[in-house]
């Protein structure tokens, strides 16, 4: 290869790596109508972005260089360019947009319209609406299977998880879970799905092939769940326990609980650490998933929620 071209290639690679959205956590701050952007390596706030009123849900796409944020009280979706950390578009969404998620290939963004019992679909690039579907009562957390075939939706007020076939957008199954499922996450291989059941203080483990379930007791009034980078442990935020329950995936046993800030809500993993948004304390707690020590507490905006996958660890 021409040495000059090679050098140019290296420069381009470095430039794209520095702007990689996977290196950042996007924390929605309900009380300050903003998003705090954290560097997941040095645990510093690198930007604060003004969005709409009472932001809650978030989905991050490293490959698109975009972040989608639902502003529930403003009834809108903010689209952030993660290279410039600026809002590039705002989509009006009548109702109560809460949950936000991306399709497996990131070509579509899904918004759960809580009070209208609907999922809205948008093209993630053109931002044009693609359609909507009704799935159950008060849809909350959503996550797409890595093969692109399924979208899982936690229906908070139906006490089930809907399995939606993304070919025709029909509901393929509704899996009963505990009372008030809110947050969802999925193994990278798509084989196990986890639902956090707020009123039952439990986590439901769903085998995505058989749709068989089992459950594990967690702490008080749990909201959200994340897997450790090595997929061996689950971390569940307990909003009224001010702690995080740690579960061993293989044995389905609770290992311990870790004290974090007040009313922890959203939780996501970088390729090294677990990040927890503490609604009451206006902070993010960073946990080492191996030692289970709190290694950092970062001041964010007011009433941090960060509901959804607020870090994208996939390469752009």
């Amino acid at each position: 290869m021409n040495p000059l071209l090679r050098l140019l290639g290296i420069i381009l690679l470095c430039a794209s790596a520095s702007a990689w959205a996977g290196g950042h956590a996007y924390i929605t701050n309900q009380g300050s109508d903003s998003v705090s952007v954290l560097d997941v390596t040095n645990h510093k706030v690198i930007a604060t972005i003004a969005v709409g009123k009472a932001p809650v849900g978030v989905a991050v796409s490293a490959r698109l260089g975009r972040v989608f944020v639902s502003n529930v009280e403003e009834q809108s979706l903010s689209v952030i360019d993660s290279n410039t950390q600026r809002v590039i578009s705002t989509i009006a969404i009548k109702g109560a947009p809460v949950g936000v998620a991306l399709s497996a290939d990131h070509s579509q963004v899904f918004v759960a319209n809580w009070f209208d019992d609907q999922i809205l679909r948008f093209d993630s690039t053109s931002l044009q609406p693609l359609g909507s579907l009704s799935v159950g009562k008060a849809p909350a957390g959503m996550i797409a299977s890595p093969d692109g075939q399924w979208l899982y939706v936690a229906n908070r007020d139906s006490n089930d998880v809907a399995v939606i076939n993304t070919k025709d957008w029909n509901i393929s199954a509704r899996v009963p879970v505990g009372a008030h499922p809110f947050g969802l996450t999925l193994r990278r291989d798509g084989k196990q799905l986890y639902s956090v059941n707020v009123y039952d203080n439990s986590l439901t483990i769903i085998d995505t092939a058989s749709l068989q379930t089992s459950s594990v007791k967690v702490g008080e009034h749990p909201y959200c769940v994340a897997l450790s980078p090595d997929q061996r442990r689950l971390f569940v935020t307990n909003t009224q326990g001010d702690d995080v329950t740690v579960i061993d995936v293989a044995s389905r046993q609770v290992l311990t609980s870790i004290d974090v800030g007040g009313y922890p809500e959203g939780i996501s993993a970088s390729d090294q650490h677990i990040f927890v948004a503490n609604w009451f304390d206006d902070t993010v707690t960073v946990i080492d998933p191996d030692t289970l020590n709190v290694i950092s507490t970062i001041s964010t905006g007011k009433q941090s929620r960060a509901f959804g996958q607020f870090i994208d660890t996939s390469l752009p």
């Binding site: 809650v56 009280e73 009834q75 809460v98 007020d157 009034h221 007040g262 009313y263 609604w279």
Partner: protein
Amino acid sequence: MKKLFALLAMALLPLSAAAHGPSPQKVEKSVTIKAEPAKVWALVKDFGNMQAWHPAVASTKLEKKGEDTFRLLTLKGGGTIYEKLRSADDADMKLKYEIVEGVLPVADYNSFITVKAGPGAGESTVTWVGRFYRVYKLNPPIPPGQDDASALNAVNGVYDAGLANLKKVAEGK
């Protein structure tokens, strides 16, 4: 105090705690009391005697249902609030409770009160924290009295009046 009664009387319909709005609200209030923490905690943890320190409460009726403890507060301005005890932890001096139903214009209300020693010798710091939602669960237009401001005003009023009087009672004034 009169303002607080008026505020509470505004919403005399029993409110459901099951459905709530999308954005939780918070109130956190603290007071320093010139009394030993043990004395202050004894007042706070006495779940069946809230009228002993809260000026808006006329009487408290304690109820046991199996393992669970509830109290029915009858307010001086009219109306009731029915609350469930979540925990009363003597080691941490922390009382946790939630509203089952009542006249406060809030939904899904949960709260805790802590008593800590300090800042001075023989002093206590009491902190009362609440997390709750407005009554109206949908987005605007929101009916009057069911919005975030109404919920926040009511809880601020309850906490301010309660902590001020708890200080008076504990200090023996």
